[in-house]
Amino acid sequence: MRGLLQVANNTFFLYYLFSNLSYLVLLIVALLSSREHHQHLASLRLERIKASPLTPPITLIAPAHNEEGSIVPSVRSLLRVDYPELEVVVINDGSEDGTLARLQKEFELQPARLLYISELVTAPVRAIYRSAVDPRLIVVDKEAGGSKADASNAGLNVASSPYTCVVDADSLLESDALLRIMAKILEDPKRVIAAGGIVRVLNGCELVNGRIRAVRLPRSPIVIFQVIEYLRAFLIGREGWARGNMLTIISGAFGVFRRDVVMSAGGYRASAIGEDFDLVARIHRQMLDQKREYRIVFVPDPVCWTEVPPTVKSLGRQRARWQKGLIDALWPNRDMLFRRRYGRIGTIALPYLWVFELCAPVFEILGIAAILIAAAIGMLSRGFFIEFMIYGYLFAAMISVGAVLQEELTYRRYNDWRDVAWLMLYCFLEQFPYRQMHLIWRLQGMWQYTRGDLVWRPMDRVGLEAAASPRTERQ
């Protein structure tokens, strides 16, 4: 028993050491990378991209399922995106509420004669409409496919542009987001096949007529924790991985893909739980199988604002689903692990995801249990136990503060010093009990997946306008 505990403790210690080391490396790489990117931003001329005859058209695809509360401001914000040739395709994925009716009323939809070829398998399409108010808006009304992937595929079938961008219907794109993300793609259009932008938390911001008037930090602790998580995930994680062309995920809330690449990869897998991750993994596989030169990039300045779960319950459901999505995308691609033909993806990125993302909850829970038992039976000195806990706490807090610094050095969206002070404070509060709750949700996700429980549990939403109102937040 003692021997087993000893091995468990040492394994956990090494696991924790490597995990922290990788975060530290990512933080340093991300700081360097974003400094470089920030310098390049100075010579970015959006007006040139906008005026260029070579800027390719883009289709924005917004799948919507029961989005009655947020669909109108969201579509308005999509139509307001500043881009020379834009097409907005909203997919009403069998909504049971008034999503379609609201769209019909606000945008005067009329049946459209549009070429629709079912290149990608989807649930049947009932009708296609075009807005009489703005002909760039197309609404596809289809039967519920049971997943965002199915709706996105219908959007891909309709899309008439060489580039597509799938966005969540409960999100807001900043008006220059597409120009900014395309600037990176147009730098090397032959090789850059996909690009992801940053997703930020909308809750708490001031929203007027579908536009963000002021960026504010929400007051609800559960949302502030998510703000820190998003900053960490995008400004450290994505930035760091993208530097080595090892980006394995482009957020489903905002990512631009070359349509031909997505189509040849078979589109989104309709049964996928984490369809965004699954697609990127399959694209990597396809490109590496075909030995093609390619890049998948992360661009930190184009912003998509999204409503995050405002309650512990809905956050738990979301995180459990993300964990299921992770397993669901990693498992079918397990044959890519440690295969030379899959390069860094197979030897670094995917193994990292398996060990430090997928198995993290199991390792951490077992590790904590082993340490507690060892401390209880006197195998571990009380001093070391306390020191180890302090180290874990401080190191994790340091990485979070690093994410806040990264934000401060680069984009400074939170202008009010009080918001920054709150963010820093929450970097220290995040470690207990939020982090442990997070572990439990992820374990729940794993348990549900192994039991075959793949049911979509919708997030509690208050709608964009309400989510963004700081007053609502405080109430």
Binding site: Q6, V7, N10, F13, L14, N20, Q39, H40, A42, S43, L44, R48, S52, P53, L54, A112, R113, L114, L115, Y116, I117, S118, E119, L120, V121, T122, P124, V125, A127, I128, R130, P135, S160, S161, P162, A183, K184, L186, E187, D188, K190, M263, F384, E387, F388, I390, Y391, L394, F395, A397, M398, V401, G402, V404, L405, E408, L409, W417, V420, M424
Partner: protein
Amino acid sequence: MNSFLHWINAGAAAFVLRAIVFSVSGIVLLVASILARRKIRRRYFDRLADAEFYVRQHWDEIVAGKIPRNEWHEVHRDTEAIITQSLDRMETADATEGEKLLTFLRRTGLMDRILMETRHLRGWKREAALVRLGRTRAPEAVASLVAALDDPSPETQLAAVRGLACTGLRSAGEAMLERVVAGSLALPGTSLMNALIACTRANPRVLLPYLHLAHGPVRELLARVMAEVASVALGDDLLLLASDVLPEVRASVARALGHAEFGFAFPALAQLAADAEWYVRLRALTSLGQFRETRALPVLLRGVCDANRHVRQRAAEALARTPDRIGVLSDVLRTADPYALQAMIAELDRTGDFDKMVEALESDTDRLAHAEGQELLCALEAGAEDLNTMMRLPATRKVPERV
């Protein structure tokens, strides 16, 4: 195994203590950086705003020399504010006003000051000075900026490129092109492209010798620059480039020919409309569509039957703009390509003209008296119905893939 475990145990205790110290130091450093940066920036911008306010209020007197140079020259912030103000005004000034501002900078010694800064300062201060020097658009700025292109630091090179882009001068473009082709200027594509576009737009011919010399990714980059700046000013060279090996170059030619005389452009555009690369065909058809010439119709009709969906759409867009749309539709019908007809119907629907056309056909008794007219009306109605049928087809990969 036991010795390894012992080693870990012994090492772990020492490591954890060090890691705690490291983490605490890291946190203190990071938090201090955030707070210090906020504080310094705030103080700097507050003072700069005060200086700028003063300069704005007394701008005319300063430029006219009514406020003696000595009064503000010794105050660093005031001088900075005056330089910034001059450069900002230069951005929107016409030629006369720009020259006046440049004379002011020269007369007051501010131009010399900026030039000195680019030579004597180091790091980010030098980089900022280089960009400022470029913003003056003064011919004497080019030499210093070109010298900075040869600096070993990529940041300095980038600042020099940004400065040269601001000048927009041909000599600046040539200096950058020489180094790009020689491989001594390895900077991000966007920055280089922006600068080269700015400096060669007025005279795209500058690019030609370098385009012939370059190869690999550099040639691709220059081709993309050419695609932006190519114009009819290139004359016969444009026709030579129409058979370039790089599709980017051919696409740029196709775009540029859209602004040339139809007689001059048509043979090359017809050739490019049959190119192997879809985006070259697309650009050629877009350019052909701009002429609204009946002689271009056969090429556009071939385009609307293209295997690529985007090309079909562009061709349909061009065809839908022609005055004799009913005639064009009959021609499309004669191609017997259902995808071509559907592309036309979709385009007419997009522009809101489909129903009008059907109504016009229904009320055109003369045309309906002939079999051709009836056939056209039937085809339009059936084509529109086809689109609906296709949409309702059970989703399957067996659907013909003409995309």
